[in-house]
Symmetry: C2
Subunit: 217 residues, 2 copies
């Protein structure tokens, strides 16, 4: 197919497709002449993945490029690749590191204690450690200690969510499919779970606090 059809089928403007190609998110089409190229289903699949990661998964373009580069590396050990993918996604979805005052230091200690308590195996440099430490520090700074104190209960549920994720990943046939599944789980799956939590929260509020269903103003 030509670029116009690729654009129509993916609902992505031609200019944007060209932009993604420049940025290395989408391989060039097969040139049939100096200014004509042909695209196939693989381009369409890739484009759909890119849009899903950017729009639904809210990943920056630069991160998507990194992730796709990993996926395309067939000579990399899949287990190593999986670690890279997890780390890249979490690093991108964490904010930029705030400054480390004593509140964050205390949060870091809390995180270490939690990991110890639950016997989790987590790399020392995992971005999620810092994200969690900063979230705890922020909660304690603004009067949300009661929330921070329930971290063990939340952790127990997070573990069960991760167990579902893992079961999914393992059910996939090849190591490559497992890595791909882990990527989807950590980006789109995360968005999905967050939305489910919002719905459940709204239900809980409506039910218990008698707000009624929040009205559209």
């Amino acid at each position: 197919m030509r670029i116009a059809e690729l654009s129509r089928r993916s609902a992505v403007p031609v200019a944007t497709i060209k932009y993604y190609q420049r940025e290395g998110l989408l391989p060039p089409g097969e040139l049939t002449s100096p200014n004509q190229a042909r695209y196939d289903e693989r381009h369409l699949d890739r484009l759909r993945l890119v849009r899903a990661l950017i729009e639904v998964g809210r990943l920056p373009v630069a991160t998507v490029r990194e992730l796709l580069a990993f996926l395309d590396q067939s000579e990399m050990n899949p287990h190593y690749k999986l670690g890279k993918v997890l780390r890249t996604v979490t690093a991108a979805r964490s904010g930029s590191p705030g400054e480390a005052d004593e509140a964050v230091a205390a949060g870091t200690k809390e995180v270490e204690a939690l990991i110890e308590r639950r016997g989790w195996q987590v790399a020392p440099g995992a971005p999620a450690r810092r994200t969690l430490a900063e979230a705890l520090a922020a909660l304690r700074r603004v009067g949300g200690d009661d929330i921070a104190d329930l971290i063990d209960e939340y952790a127990a549920l997070a573990e069960r969510v991760a167990a579902i994720d893992l079961r999914l990943v393992r059910s996939r046939a090849t190591p490559e499919a497992m890595v791909y599944g882990a990527l989807l789980g950590e980006t789109l799956g995360d968005t999905m779970f967050t939305a489910l939590r919002w719905l459940a929260q709204e239900d809980a509020s409506a039910r218990a606090l008698d707000t009624g269903a929040p009205r559209v103003p």
Copy 2:
């Protein structure tokens, strides 16, 4: 205190404080002369909250302004206020609406069926509905049907997370404190839970897929 001290104690640059004042996130100080103002602890608390919502909760400045305006409205019914807060936060954290093709329409149907199955009370226009529908549609477009098919299991856990959130909110003394707690839970608490999920995922991968702890390259 003067603005320099406010800046030092909050670790927010003076120029940024002035920007937040212009944007209506922070009330002006008490003017003691045409070009001198005094700030107190309430300003510091507010500033800390603003930074936490922006940096840790990843909310846009415009959304924070909206939320603070609700919190400051003392004459608004707290239950209504709570609904407004939930809706405002979820709307901000959802992406901008993508176009509604037939995949999203199918996702919407799935979401409605799920809400029905679980007996959830959710307003028809809740932003989370669309977010979830788009996440499902995206998953199915990129080969993540297996993930989308587990939505009921995820929903059951989301319900339990929401139950913890609710218990917290109810344990607060006044209606105003409850609304404030709900805000913290839905922003900072969400960041906290997501980070916990990442840690649990890394543990699960390390344990079951034998990746070893992912190394820092």
